[in-house]
């Protein structure tokens, strides 16, 4: 009987001890997290200088219509007539006919500015982030077209599905108050 009671208290002691240890453990986890936290909220973004426009952004995003869209940096754009981001490599004619357009969704608008310059604008509601134009522009043009994660669409997944599939490790977390990595004009000189 006495033995039984002692056993009970021992068990209780063990339980209490373990309980305390667990609480301390969660406390440590919390403390460590706070110590490591830089207080900046972070979001996913593509480093345009690492991106190879492989096309994964259009297909791997958890959203059916990807959160990644193309951005046009006008200051870098050459306003070429023969835009390799806009036209397929060997266009039948230099016009806006669908058979000549590189963009599968027709999301790039071409507007005449003055001879021989044309302005190219992305219609974001149509862009699916496939990066075909980015590739074309980077291959023969100035590279003014590049892909960015749009934060009105991005769900900020804990693990970005596109980042996991990115062949060039172009995805990274950036501070939420500066959520875009834009191509800079001064890169030219």
């Amino acid at each position: 009987m006495a033995n039984d009671k002692e056993n009970l208290t021992r068990r209780k002691f063990l339980r209490e001890g373990l309980w305390g240890a667990c609480l301390a453990g969660t406390g440590t986890a919390a403390g460590l997290s706070i110590a490591r936290n830089n207080r900046d909220n972070t979001v996913w973004q593509i480093d345009p200088y690492k991106c190879i426009a492989c096309g994964n952004c259009a297909t791997f995003c958890v959203l059916e219509n990807s959160a990644v869209k193309c951005v046009q940096a006008y200051a870098i754009c050459g306003y070429c007539d023969l835009c390799t981001g806009y036209l397929v490599p060997e266009p039948k004619a230099l016009d806006t006919g669908a058979e000549n357009e590189l963009c599968p969704t027709g999301a790039i608008k071409r507007t005449y500015v003055e001879d021989p310059y044309y302005e190219y604008t992305i219609d974001e509601s149509l862009c699916n982030g496939c990066g075909k134009c980015v590739n074309g522009c980077a291959a023969f043009g100035n590279g003014s077209l590049f892909l960015q994660v749009r934060h009105d669409r991005c769900k900020n997944c804990n693990e970005c599905a596109i980042a996991a599939a990115c062949p060039s490790q172009a995805f990274k977390r950036v501070p939420a108050d500066q959520p875009y990595l834009l191509k800079k004009v001064d890169a030219k000189e």
Binding site: P116, N158, E159, P167
Partner: protein, 434 residues
């Protein structure tokens, strides 16, 4: 003029790749004569302000406080269900199911193993707060707050009893999942829990086809087997189980004393109600004792086998890491075993790194996976051995009670207890008499 310009542009376009140097524009920005100005770039949409993270954490605390009150004090299944649906709506559909405590395991793991990683505050809060509540009040998070639990709980219509041994065996999946998730998060290659989250697609009404199929199948199973993800897969549930064993307060079926009426026996759809037990009958006791000794001797064997198996899986495990995959591909290409390149190997070559550096990195990662894989195996072996032993001991129990580890605090059993009806009647009278 136009034609000439076109031809020039075309020739230039053909020549540029040879001429252009990195960092220089191939075509100088035009000097417009018509007074054209660069269009204003449409303002880029801003990210979700950090304030919302604090609101989420605060809402989590409020939900857990309310859940603890409803589960332990109010003891009303209907109220618990209501809170559960609200939580499903907010943490699931409004917040798109991200961040959740289950996935936060990986963020915390990464914080421990990678000193450069800064954990989002919400992830830390979502990991720690439910743990603390579990230490005080049992698995109230599972019962009324977790959106993944809620979506399964809501579809449960015809619960089928799962045999204890099968339940215990299947739960090994959850331990394995936890171990694997920690391993992959620690080596920084993948967040498995997020990648295979079966219900996040429903919350977003959008998602990967395979994962949606997985989610639908789990829900179909969940029509008959209560909360299959929670019981057999959830890695966070594994942690909560252990903490709930130690919790200060937790669900009791009866509000006062058990009269062993057996009415609650089949009340739990998750098989968490334990009936009173007698000691082993004389003959069986000996067999059980022998079995326990055998399992005790088997434990080191299981642990060693697990460790060895985990170690020998290192190559395959390491292949989950993108750098290792790239290294293997580059090796195949450079030794001429394959023709052509992949996006990854192309991207690697543009970085200008030497392939030797890449191979060295891959070897390092493989080494980490050898150690990590062995630990994972040891962990699984240890759990499997422990489970075998737990199945062959009998704990003396004098009344019907909810198993502290398995009870998901859904509150379904309360109304089965006649003592509970007595209590409610008394409360009603007290309220009415006032």
């Amino acid at each position: 003029m136009t034609r000439l310009a076109r031809i020039t542009a075309f020739i230039v376009a053909l020549l540029v790749p040879c001429l252009s140097a990195l960092g220089e524009l191939r075509f100088p920005p035009p000097e417009f004569e018509s007074g054209y100005r660069f269009p204003e770039m449409a303002p880029l949409p801003v990210a979700r302000p950090a304030l919302y993270e604090y609101i989420d954490a605060a809402l989590l605390v409020v939900a857990l406080l309310l859940a603890s009150y409803l589960i332990l004090r109010r003891r009303s299944r209907r109220a618990i269900f209501g809170l559960m649906i609200l939580a499903l709506f907010y943490f699931g559909f409004v917040r798109d199911g991200c961040i959740c405590p289950i996935g936060a395991i990986q963020n915390v793991t990464l914080t421990v193993f990678d000193s450069t990683y800064a954990i989002p505050l919400a992830a830390a809060a979502f990991f720690v707060i439910p743990l603390v509540f579990t230490l005080f009040c049992g698995r109230v998070f599972c019962g009324a707050v977790c959106p993944l639990g809620a979506i399964q709980d809501a579809v449960l219509i015809h619960p089928v009893r799962v045999p204890r041994w099968l339940e215990s065996g299947l739960r090994l999946l959850a331990y394995t999942y936890l171990g694997a998730a920690v391993l992959f998060a620690a080596i920084g290659s993948a967040f498995l829990i997020c990648r295979y989250d079966p219900f996040v697609g429903f919350f977003r009404l959008n998602g990967n086809w395979n994962i949606l199929v997985l989610g639908v199948s789990l829900l179909v199973i969940g029509l008959f087997v209560g909360r299959p993800y929670c019981r057999f897969l959830c890695p966070y549930g594994v942690i909560l189980r252990q903490l709930s064993r130690l919790s200060k307060r937790r669900v009791t079926i009866t509000p006062s004393e058990c009269i062993k009426c057996r009415l609650c026996e089949d009340a739990c759809p998750f098989g968490a109600i334990r009936e009173p037990t007698e000691d082993w009958p004389e003959g069986e006791y000996k067999i059980a004792k022998r079995r326990l000794t055998l399992f005790l001797l088997l434990l080191p064997v299981l642990v060693a086998a697990g460790g060895w198996a985990g170690y020998s899986l290192k190559e395959r495990l390491a292949r989950v890491h993108p750098r290792v995959r790239t290294a293997e591909r580059v090796y195949l290409e450079e030794t001429g075993q394959v023709t052509g390149t992949t996006n990854a190997s192309d991207a690697f070559r543009t970085t200008g790194q030497t392939s030797e550096a890449l191979y060295k990195e891959a070897t390092e990662i493989r080494g980490q996976f050898a150690v990590g894989g062995a630990w994972l195996g040891v962990f699984i072996g240890f759990v499997a051995g422990g489970k075998l032993m737990a199945l062959s001991v009998r704990r003396r129990r004098t009344e019907y009670e909810a198993d502290p580890a398995s009870c998901l605090a859904c509150g379904r059993c309360y109304k089965y207890c006649p003592k509970e009806h007595e209590r409610r009647k008394k409360t009603r009278e007290a309220v009415g008499g006032r």
